[in-house]
């Protein structure tokens, strides 16, 4: 496949353009550098537009916590429940992630106060920086904690997603944790290693159609200041970025680069997928499997017809709940990882592949990402769409106190998606299977062997998974 920065072609610069900056303007095939669009350049270069959006999300976030803690305890009448778990979740799964990867991270309010304290200012960095700036322990790197955090949320999700007080305390806890971690550790330790949303946004960002990348490696190599690295709140060096999973798209590097050598690229879907892995770390593979497993579990609990399952997920601490928790953990920690390992192992045997199993798992797990992303979108359609009609009601009366902000009576008609959603969901899962299969096909030839025996066990894994998912969602 065409690697980034492998093929460069010279783009003629118009006479009279800025001199002193990058004199050679590079562009990469199948990439469109959005940063070169004048109005977008202006929007991204100035800190104000992003600041205003961030201010809005931060104020909205604090408002959400307020409504959660002080508003109606009836979930469907509480702004926090509906806006976080229905409206924001839908936007995240159907908008931010599939179209922008980690784009939500660029406006997420949770790390902002910590960021500002670290920088000693909102728009300009000052000398009065706060915090200990410790390095995050090496043993805790990777997405292990994020995966565990996501499982933990999954165990209590039935209550968290319906009880405003619990939602309020969870949001407040995340907010406090993020600020606290910014004061102790350097960079975005919370976002990179703790935030479960950051975890799955990160892995799915590999398939998303945007990326921040260096335009010309030569220019970076010659530039000693590394202003981009200095500016990056995440502690990343753009030149060393192998995929988009860690980049929060905050645009600080684009603003900082004196050579104008960074690009915000529009790229084909799945550009980071299907390449041989650069490490043998299993953390992202496990996260990808957890995302598949929890999509199954949540579909069964939230959209399935089984009342006993719903109530056992609700009654935290009860025996039924312990059974649900055990089932949820076994599915995600043992069953799916074991099944996937078995699939990869049998393919290794069939194709006489000499690569170590661990490396093959890490490599093949990339194929799980498109399917996982599509499964989550399909789940969200069943889970959140029928409740979107409640959004107007909670905007009108966020606390359930009888306010009439929009002067609109809450509509009682729920959005009926039952007509088209089954087709849409089947189509999405089909896209997921084919997309995943194409990633697997790309990987098959690149795993250290010239034997390109089709990876039937892993393809079967995709197929069985999507059939189960269709059965859960469509019935």
């Amino acid at each position: 496949m065409t690697r980034l920065q492998d093929t460069l072609w010279v783009d003629e610069i118009a006479p009279g353009s800025k001199v002193g900056r990058s004199s050679k303007r590079y562009s990469i095939p199948s990439r469109v550098n959005l940063y070169r669009i004048p109005w977008l350049h202006a929007l991204l270069e100035s800190r104000w537009p992003q600041f205003l959006v961030r201010a809005l999300t931060l104020i909205g976030f604090v408002f959400t916590i307020t409504t959660a803690l002080f508003g109606s305890r009836v979930g469907s009448h509480n702004f926090a429940i509906i806006m976080v778990w229905i409206a924001w979740w839908t936007t995240l799964k159907l908008g931010f992630i599939p179209f922008g990867g980690r784009s939500w991270c660029s406006i997420c309010p949770i790390p902002l106060p910590g960021d500002w304290l670290q920088n000693g200012g909102i728009l300009v960095k000052s000398e009065r920086k706060r915090g200990l700036n410790l390095r995050w322990p090496k043993s805790l790197r990777g997405s292990w904690l994020q995966s565990s955090g996501f499982l933990l949320i999954g165990l209590f999700s039935a209550v968290t997603l319906t009880d405003p007080h619990v939602t309020g305390w969870v949001l407040l806890a995340l907010f406090t944790l993020a600020i606290g971690m910014s004061l102790v550790f350097e960079h975005r330790a919370f976002c990179s290693y703790i935030c479960p949303i950051g975890g799955f946004s990160g892995i799915y960002a590999k398939s998303a159609p945007v990326e921040v990348r260096v335009v010309d490696k030569e220019i970076c190599a010659k530039h000693g200041d590394k202003s981009c690295y200095q500016a990056c709140p995440w502690g990343l060096y753009p030149l060393a970025m192998k995929d988009s999973s860690a980049c929060g798209l905050c645009m600080e590097c684009l603003r900082a680069c004196p050579k104008d050598n960074l690009a915000l690229n529009l790229r084909p879907y799945g550009s980071d997928l299907g390449r041989p892995p650069t490490s043998s770390r299993l953390d992202e593979s496990w996260l990808a499997l957890i995302m598949l497993g929890s999509a199954l579990a949540f579909s069964a609990v939230f959209t399935g017809p089984w009342g006993w399952l719903k109530s056992s997920a609700f009654e935290i601490g009860s025996q039924a709940w312990l059974a649900y928790a055990a089932g949820f953990l076994v599915l995600n920690v043992l069953f799916l990882p074991a099944l996937f390992t078995l699939c990869v192992w049998s393919w290794k045997k069939i194709s006489h592949n000499s690569s170590p199993l661990r490396r093959l798992i890490v490599s093949q797990a990339q194929g799980l990402l498109p399917l996982g992303l599509m499964a989550w979108i399909a789940f969200t359609i069943s889970f959140a769409f029928p409740k979107l009609n409640l959004v107007l009601g909670v905007l009108n009366d966020p606390f359930g106190w009888g306010w009439h902000l929009l002067n609109a009576a809450s509509s009682s008609n729920s959005l009926d998606v039952s007509g088209f959603s089954p087709y849409l969901q089947v189509a999405l899962l089909l896209v997921g299977v084919f997309w995943s299969a194409s990633v697997t096909r790309k990987l098959t030839g690149s795993d250290g062997t010239h034997n390109s025996f089709p990876n039937i066990p892993v393809l079967a894994f995709y197929l069985v998974y999507s059939i189960v998912m269709v059965w859960l969602l469509v019935g």
Binding site: V62, T66, V124, F399, W401, H404, A409, S412
Partner: protein, 332 residues
């Protein structure tokens, strides 16, 4: 630097505003809670759950978003007020006893009018709420959902006046209030009929005696109070004359179809009961009728009135219901 301070100002101002909303609301609530009334189909009361403390006045500002509604609190001696669209009705409630009170609409606003209810939880840090006493039908172990139909009925409407004029001595056991509460008119008729001393009386005479004993267990004031409650709360469905033909009767009867889905939605209704139906009424005891009234008829559309009427009010209503079967007035 100006820009930096501007940005900080925006953030601090925004956050302070958001955090201060609950405090402002608390202050506003001390000025009076604004409560919106809407037909049950479009949301009912907002807010529908209020809290108050014993002895502390609760100011409510009521307004309607659609049609005229009424507001009253069950178990509370406070006259109902009307709530008109576009107007504010102020009312101040003071509770002397802790407990969970039910407020409800008192105007027939729609067929689901009786679903317009909400609660006020009144707390008193010093007093613990007493557990409610089980109603009589529970103590007696009556199955108020069982079908009941008297096999014998009087030829003409029994009259308490004629019964009194028979000048008979009825055994004390049948005249006690406890007997009245727990027995049906048919029970009493059969018991009297088997008394050898009444052998000479015709069947109709015995029915007149039953009416007379039933009447002596109720008072004029009780029947009057029951009539007022009936007219205000029951006649919408059961009809002014008790014949089960109130203004909502047809809509309720129409709700009886498609039983499976309606039952699961809690929307199943039936044609309201006809209190002039002798076989049905004469085979029901006062405890049975009171039980239906306070619990409501599951799957019929009959609301539960237990949270709203006091015990005296329920007995008054039962007393009034007998006037659909017996002539209670004393002829001059």
């Amino acid at each position: 630097m100006i820009k930096e301070w501007l940005a900080r100002g925006v953030i601090i101002l925004g956050l302070v505003m958001m955090i201060s909303i609950p405090a402002v609301n608390k202050w506003q609530q001390s000025q009076g809670v604004v409560m919106h009334a809407r037909m049950a189909e479009t949301g009912g009361w907002t807010p529908e759950n209020l809290t108050a403390a014993v002895g502390k006045p609760l100011h409510l500002r009521l307004t309607s978003d659609d049609v005229t509604h009424g507001f009253a609190v069950g178990q509370l001696d406070q006259p109902a007020v009307d709530i008109n669209p576009g107007e504010m009705t102020d009312i101040t409630l003071v509770f002397t006893k802790p407990g969970k009170y039910t407020f409800y609409c008192t105007r027939w606003c729609s067929v689901n009018h009786w679903r317009m209810r909400g609660t006020i939880e009144v707390t008193d840090p010093l007093v613990r709420t007493e557990p409610a006493r089980p109603p009589l039908y529970v103590t007696l172990g009556l199955n108020i959902d069982a079908d009941h139909k008297a096999s014998l009925t009087p030829a003409q409407m029994p009259s308490a006046w004629r019964g009194a004029l028979l000048n008979q001595t009825v055994p004390e056991a049948y005249k006690s209030h406890n007997y009245y509460l727990s027995h049906t008119p048919v029970d009493l008729w059969l018991a009297l009929r088997s008394e050898p001393s009444f052998d000479k009386l015709t069947d109709q005479d015995v029915w007149d005696l039953v009416a007379w004993i039933w009447q002596s267990n109720t008072s004029q004031e009780e029947v009057q109070a029951g009539k007022q409650l009936f007219t205000a709360n029951c006649a919408a469905c059961h009809g002014e004359n008790g014949a089960g033909n109130g203004v909502f009767a047809d809509q309720l009867a129409a709700g009886s179809g498609n039983a499976v889905t309606k039952q699961s939605m809690g929307e199943q209704t039936q044609k309201p009961v006809n209190f002039t139906d002798a076989p049905r009424m004469l085979s029901a005891s006062p405890a049975h009728l009171q039980g239906k009234l306070i619990r409501g008829g599951m799957g019929t559309g009959m609301p539960s009135w237990g949270a709203i009427f006091t015990e005296d009010q329920t007995w008054a209503l039962v007393a009034y219901l007998w006037t659909f079967q017996f002539q209670m007035e004393v002829n001059p």
